[in-house]
């Protein structure tokens, strides 16, 4: 287990580092003089020179890159050109809002998606399946911001049930979470359905039924458990997709989250804000990917048997424990 975690951690750090280098290099191509962004139009020559010196803009690329990475490791993400304020605290202040919606949206979406997908696959071609297929494809085809607006139109403006913007009570979370949840459940339903359809035709499902297992347990412990790897991948992509696209839903509900912060940076050509904001989003996505990798370890027998988890419990049950401790991994 530890070996696997360390392996994934090293991989995660390398990917992240490569991403930072890539993004930093990309930002080198931003046109215009950053000093003008800091000072605004009509800055004097001396001021520009002073800013260049202050921000060490004239250092060679490699020096600035290593300095940026060094600071990043210490938690310093640099300062905004526009406000001259440090970026890291601003990002962390906005994180809870973004994460609350993301986490709840994904939880709701996963629960709905799994149930709907499994039922849809088991009752393939039924009316329920057809309706669900329509809704899930609709959910996957609709732009999230438009869906959010549709919810606002119906539930806030027409029915007056739920607030769209404003201070954060439980009621205020419902619409953003519903938007994210619906979109997540749409893709998760689709993947669960197709993955389950493939699995329930497999011979081992027939074997399980020939053992006299109940339909429910056949579907869940033989079907879903085998179908779960691609579903997990989709859930991971969905979370990352939302973290990336958080700006869209945030803009409809006027939530001052991560996405809006980065977007403001893009609009004002505030390169450090964009760079660090995007690096931060990538960092969170990498963590999600890492957690997903950890989750694979609990379902994928190849990882399990290579690194030996889950094996111990089974051996214990079969009275094989003494040998297990002697021989280590099987």
């Amino acid at each position: 287990m530890l070996r696997y975690i360390i392996k994934r951690l090293i991989y995660m750090v390398i990917t992240l580092l490569a991403t930072v280098v890539f993004l930093f290099t990309l930002m080198e191509f931003v046109p215009g003089d950053p000093a003008l962004v800091v000072l605004g139009e009509g800055a004097t020559e001396e001021n520009i020179v002073a800013i260049h010196k202050e921000l060490k803009l004239d250092d060679p690329y490699i020096v600035r890159l290593t300095r940026y990475i060094g600071n990043l490791i210490q938690g310093d993400m640099g300062n905004s050109y526009k406000t001259r304020q440090p970026i890291a605290p601003a990002l962390f202040a906005r994180l809870p809002l973004t994460m609350t919606i993301a986490v709840w949206g994904i939880i709701v979406g996963t629960i709905i998606g799994l149930i709907a997908g499994v039922v849809s696959a088991v009752k393939q071609y039924s009316l329920f399946d057809r309706i669900l297929t329509f809704i899930s494809l609709f959910g996957a085809s609709a732009p999230s911001f438009w869906l959010a607006m549709l919810f606002v139109l119906i539930f806030t403006l027409k029915l007056g049930w739920l607030p769209a913007t404003g201070s954060y009570t439980l009621k205020h979370w419902i619409l953003p979470v519903a938007t994210i949840g619906l979109q997540a459940s749409a893709t998760i339903t689709r993947m669960t359905r197709s993955s389950m359809l493939e699995v329930i035709r497999q011979d081992y499902v027939r074997t399980a039924r020939a053992k006299g297992q109940t339909q429910f347990k056949v579907v869940i412990s033989h079907g879903l458990r085998n179908a779960f790897i691609p579903i997990l991948t989709v859930i991971c992509t969905r979370i990352n997709g939302y973290l990336g696209g958080t700006v869209l839903v945030e803009s409809v509900f006027a939530i001052p989250g991560l996405g809006n912060y980065v977007l403001d940076g893009v609009k004002t050509m505030d390169t450090p804000v964009v760079l660090s904001g995007v690096v931060f989003i990538c960092f969170m996505c990498t963590i999600v990917t890492f957690l997903t990798d950890m989750a694979y370890a609990f379902i994928d027998p190849r990882i399990k048997s290579t690194y030996g988890f889950g094996v111990k419990r089974a051996r214990k049950r079969a009275g094989l424990v003494a040998k297990a401790t002697e021989g280590g991994n099987v």
Binding site: Y204, A208, A210, G212, N226, P301, K304, L320, A324
Partner: protein, 328 residues
């Protein structure tokens, strides 16, 4: 019902109803299996062997499959009237099945031991650790070291997986074991071992065996009785010796002629001409008449009934029946 009878199937008809066509997989077959008897069901791919076997466990995928007619009696119980809940108690416990492809018949995400334990737990009132111990015993019984309990199917070879499947099938001492081409996906060298294992364990547990195969040699070695199936019907059946010595149906003769033999020196094998008819579009009369060298008009119009000749030897062919009668 006769005292000795374990399974009796009467006039069983199974169809797969598809959007475009209806496939007549099994078309009115009847047979019985006695306690402790070993029966071989032989036929080419698509003859309806597996469908017949699955119907005994009521595991025909439904839809599109449907048992449209007939009766399946198991130990005096009519399975056609048995509820799904009752069927679950029969599956794996009274009747169990070993499937054709061991590579895909085990769940890849469970350890092999747990897969055996599952069936033990389902049919016995045992704790998990008792069931696990029983599963370990079963592994050892089929010749796999008990330490491999906690390994996953991908760590096993095809022959080993088939052994695991046999262990699953036998874990609850079933009365009837159905083995659906248990060796056709395995290497030739492994085939004999697996068959031997099945034969040995059948003896030990005193079960009945329904062995489905397309290998006539296997049947002669392991079975008491043989049934030859063609296009969803039994065309010839009887005790293995009788049938092998005195085969009558042209299809059976064709099957034998298409096998290489060591005792007779032939230059070339004689395959049966043509293809099996499309089961969605069966011809009238005898299903074999289009390929039969002896066929005449009657064969194309009337369906020859399976008729008992002597010593339980049954034939479904007008010509063979006529010949036998005039001889006898």
């Amino acid at each position: 019902m006769r005292e000795n009878e374990l399974l009796s199937i009467e006039n069983l008809e199974i169809k797969y109803i598809l959007r475009r066509s209806t496939v007549n997989a099994v078309n009115g077959i009847s047979f019985t299996i006695n306690k402790g008897e070993r029966v071989g069901l032989v036929g080419e791919t698509g003859a309806g062997k597996t469908t017949t076997a699955l119907s005994i466990l009521k595991l025909i995928p439904e839809p599109p499959g449907k048992i449209t007619n007939g009766k399946i009696m198991l130990g005096g119980r009519n399975l056609m009237e048995t509820s799904e809940k009752e069927m679950r108690k029969i599956r794996g416990n009274d009747v169990s099945m070993v499937f054709q492809d061991p590579m895909t018949s085990l769940s890849p995400v469970m350890t092999v031991g747990d897969q055996i334990m599952e069936v033990v737990l389902l049919h016995n009132d045992m704790s998990k650790s008792e069931a696990a111990l029983r599963a370990r015993e079963m592994l050892e019984l089929v010749g796999i070291p008990g330490e491999r309990y906690a390994e996953y199917p991908h760590q096993f070879s095809g022959g080993m997986k088939q052994r695991v499947l046999i262990a699953i099938a036998l874990a609850c001492n079933p009365k009837l074991l159905i083995a659906d081409e248990p060796t056709s996906a395995l290497d030739v060298t492994i085939q004999a071992q697996v068959l031997e294992l099945i034969a040995e364990l059948r003896e030990k547990f005193n079960m009945s065996l329904l062995l489905i195969t397309h290998d006539l040699g296997v049947v002669s070695e392991t079975c008491d009785r043989i049934m030859i199936m063609y296009a969803g019907r039994i065309v010839e059946s009887g005790p293995v010796r009788t049938v092998y010595k005195n085969m009558q149906h042209p299809y059976t003769i064709g099957l034998f002629n298409s096998l290489p033999r060591l005792d007779i020196d032939t230059d070339r094998l004689e395959p049966i001409k043509g293809m099996m008819p499309d089961p969605a579009n069966l011809p009238a009369g005898c299903a074999f008449h289009q390929r039969c060298p002896q066929a005449d008009e009657r064969c194309a119009q009337e369906l020859p009934p399976l008729t008992e000749m002597e010593n339980g030897h049954c034939i479904a062919c007008f010509h063979a029946i006529d010949k036998e009668r005039s001889d006898g």
